[in-house]
C-alpha cells in the first residue's frame, strides 16, 4: 500500500451506479486492469480478497486497476439480478467501467479478468472495448447453461452421465453448437477466436466437461500463432465453486500478476512467474 493510492468511486451505468476501487501505482500507469466477479454476488474485492491483493501487487509493478461489483451487489445500487445467457450478461457494466478506468488512468493499455459469468461478460465486452490487449478468464464454463438449474436439464445430465465417452463428446459438441446459435449467432467458439485475434488470452478451466470445446479451439489458435499469447490451463479443482481452496487462491493471484505483467510494455521481469509444476501449469495444453 505504501506506493499505491486507492480511490473508491461510483460509476454511473444506465439507471444504476457501480461501486469500484481504482488502484493507482506510483508514477504513470503502464496499463490498467479491470477485475470483475462471477454472478453469485461476490464483492469488488472478490471472495477471499483476491482482487484486492492482485490490484495492490499489480500497482507495485506499475499497473493500475479497477475492481468492480455488479448492480445490486455490495455498495452498488440497483437490483441484484444477473443474466446468464451470453446475450444477457452484465456486459454494459463491464464496458462502462472499462472506459471509465482508461479515461481516469490516462492509458489505453487495458486488461480484463473475471470468473464464471464475469469471464463471459469480459470476453463479450471486448467487442465494444477494442483497447483490451489482454484477458485472464477463470472458469469461463461456456457449457454452464442458464437452464442448468431446471429439473429437465438435471434429468438430461443424469442421462448424459450414463453415455459412453465417445457419445458424450458428440452430445457435448452438439450442445455447444446449440448454445452458440441460441445466443444470436454470437457463439462461444467465434467469440473465443475473435477475442484471441487481437490480444493475449489466458483461460483457466477445470478439467470437467463444462470446458466444452475450449481445449480444441485453443489448440487451433495456438497452432495458427497470430503473435499473441494464447493459453489454456486446466486445473484439477476440488470444488465447483470458485477459489475455495487456498492453493486455488494463490494460483489465481499469481497467474493474474504474471500474465498481465508480461502483456504490457515495461514488464517488470517476470517476478511471480509460474514455476514448472505449479498447480496452474500441471495440465497446460501447450
Amino acid at each position: 500500500m505504501e506506493t499505491t493510492r486507492e480511490y473508491p468511486v461510483w460509476i454511473p451505468v444506465n439507471d444504476h451506479h457501480i461501486a469500484a476501487i481504482v488502484t493507482i501505482p506510483e508514477g504513470d500507469p503502464r496499463a490498467v486492469v479491470l477485475f470483475t466477479t462471477g454472478g453469485g454476488g461476490a464483492p469488488r474485492s472478490q471472495r477471499f480478497r483476491l482482487w484486492t491483493r492482485a490490484a495492490r501487487e499489480l500497482a507495485d509493478r506499475g499497473i493500475a486497476s479497477v475492481r468492480m461489483e455488479y448492480e445490486g451487489v455490495g455498495d452498488s445500487t440497483g437490483a441484484g439480478r444477473i443474466g446468464l445467457k451470453w446475450s444477457q450478461l452484465p456486459t454494459d457494466d463491464v464496458i462502462e467501467v472499462a472506459r471509465f478506468a482508461m479515461s481516469v488512468t490516462g492509458t489505453t493499455q487495458l486488461g480484463m479478468s473475471g470468473n464464471c459469468a464475469g469471464a463471459r461478460a469480459c470476453i463479450r465486452a471486448t467487442e465494444s472495448v477494442p483497447e483490451c490487449k489482454s484477458l485472464v478468464l477463470f472458469w469461463l464454463k461456456p457449457i454452464a447453461a442458464p437452464d442448468r438449474g431446471t429439473r429437465r436439464f438435471q434429468s438430461g445430465v443424469r442421462l448424459f452421465r450414463l453415455l459412453p465417452d465417445t457419445v458424450k463428446r458428440k452430445v457435448a459438441k452438439a450442445y455447444w453448437y446449440r448454445e452458440g446459435r441460441a445466443s444470436k449467432k454470437v457463439g462461444v467458439e467465434n467469440t473465443l477466436r475473435k477475442a484471441a485475434a487481437t490480444r493475449d488470452l489466458l483461460l483457466i478451466e477445470t478439467s470437467s466437461a463444462l470446458a466444452g470445446e475450449i481445449p480444441t479451439v485453443i489448440q487451433e489458435l495456438e497452432r495458427a500463432g497470430n503473435g499473441h499469447r494464447v493459453e489454456l490451463r486446466q486445473v484439477e479443482s476440488t470444488s465447483m465453486q470458485a477459489f475455495q481452496s487456498p492453493a486455488e487462491q494463490e494460483m489465481t493471484v499469481t497467474t493474474v500478476l504474471e500474465w498481465f505483467d508480461a502483456s504490457f510494455p515495461g514488464a517488470s521481469g517476470g517476478e511471480g512467474a509460474l514455476e514448472p509444476g505449479h498447480p496452474a501449469s500441471v495440465q497446460g495444453s501447450s
Binding site: D75, G80, R81, D147, P246
Partner: protein
Amino acid sequence: MPVDVARLQAMGEITDPVGGISERFVEVPLRSGSTVGVLSIPAGSPGHRGWVVSHSYGPEQPNLGSFDAALARRLASQGAPVLRFHCQGYGDSEHTDFTPSVESHVRDTIDAVEAFRTLSGVRSVGLVGVNFGATCALLAASEASVDQLALISPAVQGSRFLHKFVRTRSIIEVSESTWSPDAPNPWSVLKAGGTVNIRGFVLGEDEFRSFEAVDLRTVDTFSGSALVVQISVGSEPRREITELVDHLESSGVSVTRATITDQFAALLGDRPYRRDGGQFLEDVHPELRGKVAELVADWGTGSPAPRAVMEERT
C-alpha cells in the same frame, strides 16, 4: 495522459442511491490499520443519532454486503447518518495478510464508532448488525458507549455459529462426491486443534477457542435499549434468542423483541444468489432486507412498527 485525480475524488460521492440520501466513501482509521467505509447521509439536517453497521464474520461478510447497505440506506432515509465499513482483513481494508478474529472484529467496531462520531458529529450512536455482526455489536457496545443496539438474527453462541460453517462444508463435500467414510469429521478435527478449510476460509485452533468463548447470554451488556430480531421460516420463538433477551433485560437493557418470518431465512449469511428457474441469478433476500430495514428504521426513530412482527418486552 496523467491520472485524473480530481475526477476520481469527485466520484467518491453519490447522490440519491435511494430516496433522499447521499453516500460518500470515507477512510476509517482503526488501530489495526486503515479501512474503507461508506457514510450514508440524510438529506436536510441529520438527527442527533447515528448508526454504525457491524458486519458478519468470514464468508458471511460479502454475502451480507447488500443487506448491510440496505440497512444503512434505509436508516439514513429516516434521518440518521450511518457508517458501514470493512473490518481489518476484509474487502478493501489496508492489510491483505491480516487474519481477522473475534477480538479484531470487536476492536475494529469500537474504533469505527469513534471514527464515526468524528466524521458525522452525532452525539448518540447505535450499532446494528446481522448474524455474527450482531454478536460483535453487543460485544463492542459497552466500550463503544453506544445506547441503542439492533441485533438481527444474532449468533448467540459462537460455537454454534462456527459449527454451522463446518456443517456447510460437509454438505458441499457430499454434493461433490468427494466425501469418504474414512475422512475425519471436520468438527472433530477443529476441536482437536487441527485446521480445516471451510469453503476456502481456513480455521484453526485459535479461531475455535475464541468462538467457543463467545456466549451472549453471559456477557456484560450496556446501558440503553435493544431490538432483538429473530429471522426464521416459522414464528416459533427460538430458545437461545429468548435466553439472550432475558439476559439483556436482567441487565437493565430495555428490549424490544421481534420475529420476521421468511421462506429464505435459512439462507441468511449464505450466498444469496439463486437461479430464478430461468436465465437469471437473483438475490433471494430483497424482501427480507426491506422488512428488516423498515423494522430497524422504525424502531430506531421511535416510529410504530407493524404489530405482526413485534412483541414489546418492556
